[in-house]
Amino acid sequence: MKDGLDIAALLGDAVGAMAPTVFAALGGLLTELTGMLNIALEGLMLLGAFASFAVTAASHSLLAGIAGGVLASSLAAALFGLVAIKGKANEFIAGLATNLLASGLVVLLSAKLFGTKGVVSFSLPPLPRLEIPALASVPFVGAVLLGHDVLVYASVLSAAAVWLLVAKTPFGMRLRASGSGPGAMAALGLKPEGYRFAAVVASGVGCGLAGASLSLGLSAYVPNISSGRGWIALVAIYLGGRNSFGVLAACFVFAAAESYSNYAQGFLHASSEFILALPYLVALVALVAGTLWKRLRRKPA
């Protein structure tokens, strides 16, 4: 990297780094629309990351790995949904339990399958990258938008797909209704619980993809690989105004903060602990600022 701040490279890093948060936040957006705050995103993502890594390592097939991650994460999400919706459990406690379950299970499985609780890495097939030689030389576009792995582009497409699903389909309308008017919905003979459960499982799918893009992007499984991204995703849902494109934008801002702090580590000589704390601080400040902003808008002077 050059001495000056290379904006294009920085933005490019941010685009490359945002996929996990985007996938998780889109999944979480669906549960949020049904009126549930899904704090299980973090654990689901961790489980997805481990499962997709383990399956890819065993099968040497990226597709199988991604499918494995999605399956594991959705199963855990279904358990969460079962307890929270069918079992009428407090959804926050049930979400915490899902996180605890995931963090414990992943370490147990890692010790059993790979003989270590630490970093596991194999030479896995890398995720294919989008390279368009004709456009690579175009300034900015080449550096920012090209050369990322396919899951990054998939995450952006998913944002559009979620928007279509939520805003334009009957299913999406009912999904929203299960959050905003469950009583009216029940009066029409529809079951809000069913839509909530579907949304929870969908959040599992999103987190599975998020986990896959974390571990397959690294070709390694690192303990606590999700490192708070599930929580950042929650803040992104909130800041994005419960709209999938807003969520996408918020995730990009968080990813930019992350890649800036990685970059800043090089010249600020700040201790790495500060850098690690930065995403949480940014999310906290954003949460406070977002709440303040909404308050001010609600009460015009």
Binding site: K117, L276, Y280
Partner: protein, 381 residues
Amino acid sequence: MDRRSRTELAARWGAVGLALLAAFAVAALLLLAFSSSFASALGLFFLGPFKNLYYFGNMLNAGVALAIAGLAASIAFATRSFNLGGEGQVYVGAIAAAVVCAATPAAGGAPGALLGIAAGAAAGGALGWLSGFLKRSLGVDELISSFLASSAAVYLGDYLITGPFQDPSSNFQTTAAVPAAFRFAKLLPPSGLSSGSFVALAAVAAAWFLLSRTRFGFELRMTGLNAEFAKYCGIDTGAYAASSMAISGALYGLAGSVLILGSYFKAMKGFSSGLGWSGLAVALIAGRNPLAILPAALFFAYVDAGAKAVMVGADVSSEIVSVVQAAVFFLVTARALDELFLRRRRGGAPEASSVPGGFGGEPTKGDGGPGPGAPGAGGRA
């Protein structure tokens, strides 16, 4: 207590008992799946903690920190607030206690130790207060803000331990050791059980007194039981919710300082205790009654000690604890279990609204919109 609430309480205890049994079943299943010699692992898990005084004392000692952490979580629960920042609050509490005690002249004796404890509680309390303050003044969700602030605090704590407070004479990433004069006395050598256990007992007694015998405690509980009614009675519910977050943080900080003065004597980098999450589990089992914190903490101390025995003696890592905890969370919080018991006792389907939302002290979010996950809230509206 009228007949109906007694029936409900009995149902709740039935559900809790069932959940605890299921937790043991989950532990056994995990051992079956992850250990190469199931029988010996099972024996270690269930009997290991009682093998000798050393293991037994260490189990009790783990219960000390768990009890204080459980108290911390339950004070927040009492106003239906969620303090998910326990991990960071324990950590900053431990660092503050270690640093203050190491800097105090050893001649300070007991007051020096008290100073360290107070510093720990103040550090944790400040972190908890931040979330309470943000909630009260701006309406920022305390659940997320406490988690974010605590996660940042963990890393900043790492920085403090490896930077300004690093013990220059040590090769490890740790603060200087607390002088022997400030350490809690060992009660059951060679085990770690120390006079810090009296701190836990005193904290439990104080919390019981505060909640059930003072006006402050009454209004605090009212805030959690029925915020609308409390507001109507002129209780500043926002202030009580915020102070319960601060008290909760202070108790987590206290747990951290007791760990330092009783067990570790210095704050090491990454000594993440998991206490923030275990505290929630303890509080959930104990429910509203602070005195029930003690048996609940001992239960988890037992599970923890069993897992440690298995880790040392067999080939299973101690992370089975978090899976067992998860099972307890799932089962204890599932209202359906209560209804199962109620149905059996009444011989009919219970009205959902008659199930109290609160034995488990489980807060339901008042501001979460329609609150679909909060069937208990309907009963009090």
